[in-house]
């Protein structure tokens, strides 16, 4: 390395450093934009009319053209326009379908019959931003959205509760009590994370089928009450960071292990517990394979599962509804992130601190 050493390299260094900063910034900007575009595209599509979703080049901000027309010598300054024949009406696209010469108009907002006008008699007077918020209503009505939301929240609540309670208690046993074989057993806990879910999903299915619980939510939340290797690991790391003196003093005062856990460790660990709760919530909210296997009745579906159903039902053509539904399902998780950003980032950072 030494042979590349140049004396006086400090001055050009700072200059190249600032060029480098600009390059880094530009690279981040390009990639950042690439990562943001799918979101913008989704929201943009969700606010368009169906006909506008297939417009090329695409419009990022949905717009509607306003026309004025002359009908029988009378000028309608702002007209509702229907393209094609009224029987075979195409949505207002802002463009003439290629093989139709006539358009049908009536005064904006009125209920009178449409009158035919020639293409030439139409005049574009305005181009307004026009978000189709009604798409969200349409998407919500197309599936039992509120039922799915309730199911998902119910499942999230039980799963978070189960994970918090069991993983914290188990993590205490793995960190604050010294017993023979503890660390070997903990290796076993970590090893269980290596088992792929497909290996155990079939016996789990037949096990829950045996006791008649297929088609209920029980198989989805019951296992969370028995500790989760990943969260046990996370909480154990945190508990180990709490000074031993605290618990030793409590033991000398005659506190039981349970009281030490409940009255000392838990209150000191609320930030780690919140991280676990958030992670488990997001995991449950987004889970697909579990509900896909264990739920059979549409009334029990979660949002993630319902979204798939929505897609197959609509054959993937109603893109504006699909994007609205996808946005609605994603939004709560994104909002949660903005409320708990620091905790989530800290929690994920801890994940890598293994070995």
């Amino acid at each position: 390395m030494m042979k590349f050493f140049k004396p006086h390299s400090a001055v050009p260094d700072s200059e190249s450093e600032s060029i480098f900063l600009i390059l880094r910034f530009l690279a981040l900007l390009v990639f950042g934009l690439a990562f943001a575009l799918p979101f913008l595209w989704t929201v943009s599509t969700s606010l368009k009319r169906l006909a506008d979703t297939t417009k090329m080049p695409p419009e990022w901000i949905p717009r509607t053209s306003v026309y004025s027309a002359v009908v029988n010598g009378n000028r309608i300054s702002r007209a509702d326009v229907a393209w094609g024949s009224p029987e075979n009406r195409i949505d207002q696209t802002g463009q003439f379908p290629p093989n139709v010469d006539l358009a049908w108009v009536r005064p904006e907002g009125s209920e009178v019959a449409y009158r035919a006008v020639k293409k030439e008699d139409l005049e574009k007077v305005d181009d307004i931003i026009d978000f189709q918020w009604a798409n969200y209503l349409g998407a919500v009505k197309a599936i039992p959205f509120w039922v799915y939301t309730q199911n998902t929240l119910f499942l999230c609540f039980l799963s978070v509760l189960g994970t918090l309670a069991s993983s914290a208690i188990v993590a205490y046993g793995f960190s604050r009590i010294k017993w023979r074989g503890r660390d070997t057993t903990f290796l076993l806990v970590l090893a269980t994370m290596m088992i792929p879910f497909p290996v155990i999903m079939i016996p789990l299915y037949s096990l829950f089928r045996e006791v008649g619980l297929i088609g209920t939510m029980v198989p989805l939340w019951l296992p969370t009450f028995f500790g989760n290797a990943f969260f046990i690991f996370l909480l154990r790391q945190f508990f180990r960071g709490i000074p031993e003196d605290l618990t030793d003093a409590a033991r000398i005062d005659g506190c039981s292990e349970w009281r030490i856990f409940w009255n000392i460790i838990c209150p000191l660990s609320h930030s780690a517990l919140i991280v676990v709760a958030i992670f488990k919530f997001i995991e449950t909210w987004n889970d697909f394979l579990g509900p896909f296997i264990f739920l059979t009745d549409q009334r029990d579906f979660t949002l993630a599962l319902g979204l798939q159903f929505f897609q197959s039902q609509h054959g993937g053509t109603d893109w504006h509804y699909l994007m609205a539904a996808s946005t609605l399902v994603t939004l709560p998780v994104i909002l949660l992130f903005f409320f708990a950003q620091r905790k989530i980032i800290e929690g994920i950072s801890m994940t890598g601190m293994k070995n």
Binding site: M1, F25, P38, K178, P196, F226, Q308, G316
Partner: protein
């Protein structure tokens, strides 16, 4: 063992008892049962019938199984380097002070929170041949429309997009480990005349190598188990070009009710994962640097 030791052992076991019960019920038993089922004809509707190694020998002659296995390996081989480089590259670009750092971090992280179902749906729209954003952007640089999801040539590549878009979690892990590299090492490298690339290669990479290894293993495990994304985007088509391992296991078990056969397949998956993990461990072993603690 003294009385105190026994007491501690008892308390310790008492506290971890939820895990012990869960381990037996939801892991140890299913693993044993899965091994047993893999040696049986089992439709879940009737009792399993022991048939020895038949399922495993049938797998050798199952052409669909071979397709699924090869598809999964090809897909993982494409997505693994892209995702690893993307995550590490973006983290390295971001880890030193730069205007808008927090905003960038959020931008790169947010996609990883999107439910996989929604991710799959929105990427099938982005990759739509006629009206998708990707083909539109390509058309701006005069690339003719690509039939992403409808052609056997591109369908696997299409499945890489969503996973690469979702590497945010890895980026955050890298960022955390990059912050731990002591600054004085960079100073020393710079005094030795090492510029960016050499600093990265000789200082940064060795020091974060345990985290690179961790991310590598996690990514391998996740990619080999990819299910929802192809299931939603293409249902395995066209012409089985995106039929991946877990979907074949799922179909065999829950659509064709051949649970024994599917169990055998799941064990092959486990062996493939284990094998690749060991290869990755062996290949990186000499390059991983664990700092003395």
């Amino acid at each position: 063992m003294t009385r105190g030791d026994r007491q501690k052992l008892f308390m310790g076991l008492l506290f971890i008892s939820p895990w012990i019960i869960g381990f037996i019920l939801f892991l140890a038993y299913p693993i044993a049962a899965s091994l047993y089922y893999s040696l049986c004809h089992y439709s879940v509707l009737a009792e399993p019938v022991y048939v020895g190694m038949e399922n495993y020998t049938s797998l050798l002659h199952d052409s669909v199984f071979k397709v699924a296995l090869v598809n999964t390996l090809i897909y993982a081989a494409m997505a693994l380097p892209i995702n690893m480089l993307m995550a590490l590259g973006l983290a390295v670009l971001m880890h030193r002070p730069i205007p808008g750092r927090g905003i960038f971090r959020t931008m790169f992280f947010l996609p990883s929170l999107v439910p996989l179902v929604a991710m799959a749906i929105l990427w099938s729209w982005l990759l739509n041949t006629e009206y998708g954003l990707v083909n539109y952007l390509l058309s701006l640089v005069n690339v003719p429309p690509v039939d992403w999801l409808g052609s056997t040539q591109w369908s696997k590549v299409s499945m890489v997009f969503p996973t690469t878009w979702g590497v945010g979690g890895m980026i955050v892990i890298y960022l955390a480990s990059l912050q731990e590299v002591p600054l004085h090492l960079y100073e020393a490298a710079r005094l030795d005349g090492a510029r960016f690339w050499r600093q990265f290669w000789h200082v940064t990479l060795p020091l974060i190598s345990p985290v690179v290894y961790f991310n590598l293993i996690i990514t391998i495990i996740q990619l080999l188990q990819v299910f929802i994304i192809p299931y939603i985007m293409t249902k395995g088509g066209p012409a089985r070009s995106t039929l991946f391992f877990v979907q074949y296991v799922y179909d065999t078990a829950f659509r064709f009710l051949r649970m024994g056969y599917a169990s055998a397949m799941a064990w092959i998956l486990f062996l493939v994962i284990l094998g690749l993990t060991l290869i990755a461990t062996w290949a990186t072993a000499k390059r991983i640097y664990y700092s003395a603690e």
